[in-house]
């Protein structure tokens, strides 16, 4: 029995050592499933937060500071509690700024989604 016990112990130690209970911190960015049914989101008011290529934050054509994003979103939520936040990022905007904006929106307890800023939306918002 002793050799089997040796093997079992070695296996046990191996699995204990390799057991990595990784605990990451982060934002969940899973989008709702694509369905043909009209999405509830579309009927809800949305705050559009746009990032241009120099990572400037733009809400309603006005450039604002990262720290004011939360206040701006909270003002919108006060008007309509169903408000959602849509972050539109330019291809070249920094990820750090994008996550900061998401963080601010989460602090304001608004659902956030992220999309890319397409050319048409950029032009409509006056972003080059």
């Amino acid at each position: 029995m002793t050799p089997m016990l040796d093997i079992v112990f070695i296996l046990l130690i191996f699995f204990i050592v390799t057991a990595t209970f990784i605990r990451e911190q982060g934002f969940d960015v899973t989008k709702p499933d694509d369905t043909d049914e009209p999405q509830n989101l579309e009927r809800r008011a949305a705050v559009l937060v746009q990032l241009d290529k120099n990572s400037n934050i733009i809400i309603e054509r006005r450039k604002i500071d990262v720290r004011s994003v939360r206040a701006a979103i909270e003002a919108k939520i006060a008007e309509d509690p169903q408000t959602v936040v849509v972050v539109q990022v330019h291809e070249d905007a920094e990820t750090g700024v994008m996550t900061n904006v998401m963080d601010q929106a989460r602090m304001a307890r608004a659902p956030v989604s992220v999309t890319k800023l397409d050319a048409a939306a950029a032009q409509a918002a006056g972003i080059r």
């Binding site: 016990l5 057991a19 911190q25 899973t30 905007a93 900061n100």
Partner: protein, 134 residues
């Protein structure tokens, strides 16, 4: 009466069976819970956040470096190859979550691209990695 001293001389044996049972149960527990994380292979400067959630049971880490290289499973990969690679890795651990470790200075267009690809795959539980702001 002559037999008794003989009995005392016999070496006492420890009953190993209960210990063996416990060791086996522990072994099975660790085998079942073993999640072999596919580490990205590079260190990135993750953005700070105050509202981050804990993400458990991470199985795949996708890293985006500050010069916009994408790393999965210790290899640098092309953005267009992410879908097949993730599909393959996902088979090994279908319930594991995927974390995108994006550098603060990386281009967000690339990160959103990766997010869109993972969402198109129907992967549940995609998260962007952040650091807790103290």
């Amino acid at each position: 009466m002559a037999k008794k001293p003989e009995l005392d001389e016999e070496e006492p044996e420890i009953n190993m069976t209960p210990m063996l049972d416990i060791v086996f149960i522990m072994l099975i527990f660790f085998i079942v819970t073993a999640v072999f994380v596919k580490e990205a292979g590079i260190d990135v400067d993750r953005p700070d956040a105050q509202t981050a959630d804990q993400v458990d049971r991470v199985s795949i880490i996708i890293a985006v470096s500050n010069n916009d290289e994408v790393w999965i499973n210790k290899n640098e990969v092309d953005v267009r190859d992410i879908t097949p690679i993730v599909q393959k890795l996902k088979k090994e651990n279908p319930k594991g979550k995927i974390v995108i470790q994006a550098d603060e200075k990386s281009k967000s267009g690339l990160v959103v691209d990766i997010m869109d690809q993972l969402n198109a795959l129907g992967v549940a539980g995609v998260a962007i990695s952040t650091l807790e702001d103290s």
